[in-house]
Amino acid sequence: MLDKHLFKLGTIAFLTVLIGSIWGCYFTEDDFVQGVIFRLIYIHVPAAFLSLSFYSLLTMFSIGYLIWRNKLLDNLAYASAYVGFAFTLVALLTGCLWGKPTWGTYWVWDARLTFELILGIIYLSYIYYRQTNPFKQSIKFNAAVLAIVGFIDVPLIHFSVNWWFTLHQGESIKLIGGSSAIHQSYLYPILICIIGYGLFGLYLMLLKVYALILRECSETKWLRNYILNNKGVSF
């Protein structure tokens, strides 16, 4: 039964991304400064924003796990790390592709790019450490601590363009108050894309939690009977 609802979530997410991307790419004009290449914003900004928000989710679930030692919280943390790492990779790669025609280089070691790369490394080390033994209690504890320590990187990334001189430009979309530096016709497709990719990330995360729970139960009789009697789990 959960499969049906998850599938609905996945479909809604996919359609939202489709609407946002098609609106952004075909029904808006080129940018005054950058021309056509700025359309990467419809992938790059959602991916970067979601890499930070999934890390916040990871930290929240890790804090919850450290306080309540609940297996579900731990599975949610592990799943959000996978999705967040994927978004970080996408943000870095689309950023490199966008940087070459606009700035003139694929990569610079300025504050924002370096801290985002460090976030990717933290994600990777979390996943790699967890997978050495997915069932051991002490590894779950240590990984939660790693996730919480790594959270210091998230405000560094967000405020890096305000605190230091960087090649990366400043905030275009102001979260709190003020007018955005981005035109309205671009802003709405970007917001729709962020929501769409966010829902899609949520869908992947819940799917991974589903898989993790099933893996924990792989030795149980009820699951074996279910698989033998129903010829596999339906999806």
């Binding site: 808006t28 004009e29 080129d30 940018d31 005054f32 400064v33 950058q34 700025f38 914003i41 804090i63 450290l66 306080i67 309540w68 025609p101 606009t102 700035w103 003139g104 280089t105 610079v108 070691w109 300025d110 504050a111 601590v145 919480i148 320590v149 210091i152 560094l156 890096s160 605190w163 230091w164 001189f165 960087t166 090649l167 430009q169 400043g170 905030e171 275009s172 530096a181 981005i182 035109h183 016709s185 671009y186």
Partner: protein, 137 residues
């Protein structure tokens, strides 16, 4: 019960740990704050910086100051709020390099007011607006 003694103890220990992390990270960032900057602006170039030492410079390209010479080189003036510096460069300029735009460059000072760049990157600001709307202030 959600917050019994056991979980309360864990919460307190966790909050102390987070406080420790924040203090350590805050101190670390505070002490190396100036070094995380990617470039100097023209007014920030230290007076004690010796000639022929490589560093990165960033600022705004002065209008009507870009000159292309016969050998494929280019000269222009880079400025910020308080000071400006002449820059000379021989190489490929990025697409978005333009007067009144921002640029970040790597190079060295060959004299007190001439900077010889080895790499120039264009920087764009955070404003995005369609072509039809026109220049936004």
């Amino acid at each position: 019960m959600l917050f019994n003694t056991v979980t309360q103890n864990r919460l307190v220990k966790l909050l102390l740990f987070i406080l420790g992390i924040v203090v350590i990270a805050g101190l670390a960032i505070y002490f190396m704050f100036e070094n995380i900057n990617y470039f100097y602006t023209p007014s920030q170039i230290p007076a004690s910086l010796e000639i022929n030492r490589f560093f990165k410079l960033g600022g705004k390209v002065k209008q009507h100051s870009v000159n292309y010479d016969a050998n494929g080189g280019v000269g222009f003036v880079l400025y910020d709020e308080t000071s400006e510096i002449k820059v000379s460069y021989n190489g490929v300029l990025p697409n978005l390099f333009q007067e009144n735009g921002y640029a970040v460059m790597t190079g060295r000072l060959v004299s007190k007011d001439l900077f010889l760049a080895t790499q120039i990157l264009a920087k764009h600001d955070e404003n995005y607006y369609p072509r039809g709307v026109g220049r936004k202030p």
